[in-house]
C-alpha cells in the first residue's frame, strides 16, 4: 500500500509515466535445493497451449509455448524437452506430457479511459499529469501433467495486476509489461506447485538415487514490491 502510494505520488510529481501493481501473487516460498539423478529423468513433451481471452478462443502463442518450455527446461528435472508439432519422444520411451491452458482476463476500462481522456482534453491537457489511466490484466493457467503410465496430476494458478499510466505514458509496452509480469507470476506459481511434486515425475519416483547427480536449485521469485514505479524517459522493459 505504501509503495502504491509512493508510486502514485511519483506519478503526480511527473517523474513516472506508469507503474504496475500486481495482485493475487503466489505465496513466496524459500528456494529449495533438489537433487536429481540424471538417469531418473525422463523426457518432457509440451502440447500446444490453447489461449482464451475472457473465455473466447484466442489461438495459440508460440512465444508463450517457448516461455513455458523454457521455464520447465530451467528446472532440469527432465532429460529432454519436446514441443508438440516439433520433434517427438520415441513412442517406446517413457515421457511426461504437459497440457497447459491459459485464460486471459482483460479489463481495459475503456469507458472510464475515454471519459478521463475527455476531461484531460477539456483541460487543455493541463490535467494530463494528475489523471491516471488504468488497464487491468489477469491470467489463469490450468496444467495437466500426465505420466508415462497414465497417471495425471492437475495444477491451477492465477495472477492479476493493473497498470496505471499518464496520458503521455500510454504505450503498448506498458500493457506488454503488465501482461509479462502477470504471466510471469502465474507461471511461477504453477511451477512452484509442479516442483513440489517432482519426485512423481522421476523414473522410479525417487529423487535420491545415484550414480550421476546434478544439483538443481529451484526457487520462486520473491516479489519485492507491490508497485513498480518506472522511469519516464527510459524505454520500457520488463524487470
Amino acid at each position: 500500500m505504501t509503495r502504491a502510494l509512493t508510486g502514485f505520488i511519483a506519478l503526480l510529481a511527473g517523474d513516472c509515466s506508469h507503474w504496475i501493481e500486481l495482485t493475487d501473487q503466489p505465496t513466496p516460498l524459500l528456494p529449495s535445493q533438489t537433487t536429481v539423478a540424471s538417469d531418473l529423468r525422463v523426457p518432457l513433451l509440451l502440447e500446444t497451449v490453447p489461449i482464451t481471452q475472457n473465455g473466447a478462443p484466442l489461438g495459440v502463442s508460440p512465444t508463450l509455448e517457448r516461455q513455458v518450455l523454457g521455464a520447465f527446461e530451467a528446472t532440469q528435472l527432465f532429460s529432454q524437452y519436446f514441443q508438440s508439432g516439433h520433434a517427438q519422444p520415441a513412442p517406446s520411451q517413457a515421457y511426461v506430457t504437459l497440457r497447459l491452458s491459459m485464460n486471459n482476463r482483460v479489463g481495459p476500462h475503456s469507458g472510464e479511459t475515454a471519459c478521463r481522456g475527455f476531461v484531460i482534453g477539456a483541460s487543455m491537457f493541463l490535467l494530463a499529469p494528475v489523471i491516471s489511466l488504468d488497464y487491468d490484466y489477469g491470467a489463469e493457467m490450468a496444467l495437466e501433467v500426465e505420466r508415462w503410465d497414465g497417471q495425471v496430476k492437475q495444477y491451477t494458478a492465477s495472477s492479476s495486476g493493473s497498470a496505471h499510466y499518464s496520458l503521455f505514458g500510454a504505450s503498448p509496452h506498458v500493457i506488454k509489461e503488465l501482461t509479462g509480469q502477470v504471466t510471469d507470476a502465474c507461471l511461477a506459481s504453477l511451477l512452484e506447485q509442479f516442483v513440489r511434486d517432482h519426485t512423481f515425475y522421476l523414473a522410479d519416483g525417487s529423487s535420491q538415487s545415484e550414480p550421476t547427480i546434478h544439483t538443481v536449485s529451484v526457487g520462486v521469485r520473491r516479489p519485492t514490491a507491490d508497485a513498480h514505479p518506472v522511469s519516464t524517459n527510459a524505454p520500457v522493459s520488463s524487470q
Binding site: P31, L64, Q67, S171, T179, G180, A188, T215, G219, V236
Partner: protein
C-alpha cells in the same frame, strides 16, 4: 520513435493501432458559410489548414459495426477568410475522436473539438464584435489506410465560433468545412517487437541454473 509494423508488413495496409499509438496528420479544406438565422448575413469563406496530433486511448470497444477506438489529441486551426474581407484566424483545439475499426482498411470516424480561436474577422462583421473567440467543431469522415501506418482522410466538419458572451453582438459564425488530408501513425519509445504476448525471457530469471553442471 518506432514504426508500427516491421518492413516485411509494409505492403499490408492493415494498421495495428493499439493503446498509445500516436498519429500526426494534416487536413485542409474550404470554409463555406452557413447562415442559419436572419442575424447571419456574412458569407465568410476561405481555405483552412489543420495540423493535428492524436493518441489512441483504448483498445477496440464493442463488437459489430460500431466496434472502435477512442483517440484524443489536439489540432491547430488556421482559417483564412477571403470573403467578405481578407482576414486570418488561428486556434488551438483539443479534440476527441471515435474511429470505427470494423473494417481494417477503411475506417470511418466522428470527431469533436473545441478551444480558443483568434480571428480578426471578429470585429469586421455584424455577427461578432471581438477578435478572441471560442471555436467548436463536430465532424465525420473516412480514413483509408494506404499502408499500415499512413492513411488518407476525407471528411466534413461543422464549425461554430463565438466569443462566449464577452462582447456583443455575439450571434456566432457557423460554417461548413469539407476537408481532406492524410495521417501517419507511429509508436514512441518502442523497444522492439510489439507482437509478442509477454516480455518475459524464455528462461525466467527466478529459476536458477544448475549449480553443478
Amino acid at each position: 520513435m518506432a514504426i508500427l509494423a516491421p518492413p516485411a508488413h509494409a505492403a499490408d495496409p492493415t494498421p495495428e493501432i493499439t493503446v498509445g499509438t500516436q498519429e500526426v496528420g494534416l487536413t485542409a479544406g474550404y470554409l463555406l458559410p452557413e447562415r442559419l438565422t436572419k442575424h447571419h448575413v456574412t458569407k465568410q469563406q476561405g481555405p483552412a489548414i489543420m495540423p493535428s496530433w492524436m493518441i489512441t486511448l483504448t483498445d477496440p470497444i464493442g463488437d459489430g459495426w460500431y466496434r472502435g477506438q477512442v483517440l484524443i489529441g489536439a489540432e491547430v486551426v488556421y482559417i483564412q477568410s477571403q470573403e467578405p474581407v481578407l482576414t486570418h484566424g488561428i486556434g488551438f483545439t483539443p479534440k476527441i475522436e471515435y474511429t470505427f475499426t470494423a473494417d481494417n482498411q477503411i475506417r470511418p470516424y466522428v470527431e469533436f473539438a473545441g478551444g480558443p480561436f483568434w480571428t480578426d474577422l471578429g470585429d469586421k462583421i455584424p455577427e461578432e464584435s471581438f477578435e478572441m473567440n471560442f471555436i467548436l467543431t463536430a465532424g465525420v469522415g473516412i480514413s483509408y489506410f494506404v499502408t499500415s501506418q499512413a492513411s488518407m482522410n476525407v471528411g466534413y466538419r461543422f464549425q461554430y465560433f463565438s466569443n462566449a458572451g464577452t462582447s456583443y453582438p455575439n450571434y456566432g459564425i457557423n460554417s461548413s468545412l469539407p476537408s481532406g488530408g492524410f495521417s501517419f501513425c507511429f509508436l514512441v519509445g518502442a523497444p522492439g517487437d510489439t507482437t509478442t504476448l509477454t516480455t518475459v525471457d524464455t528462461c525466467p530469471h527466478w529459476l536458477h541454473r544448475p549449480l553443478g553442471r
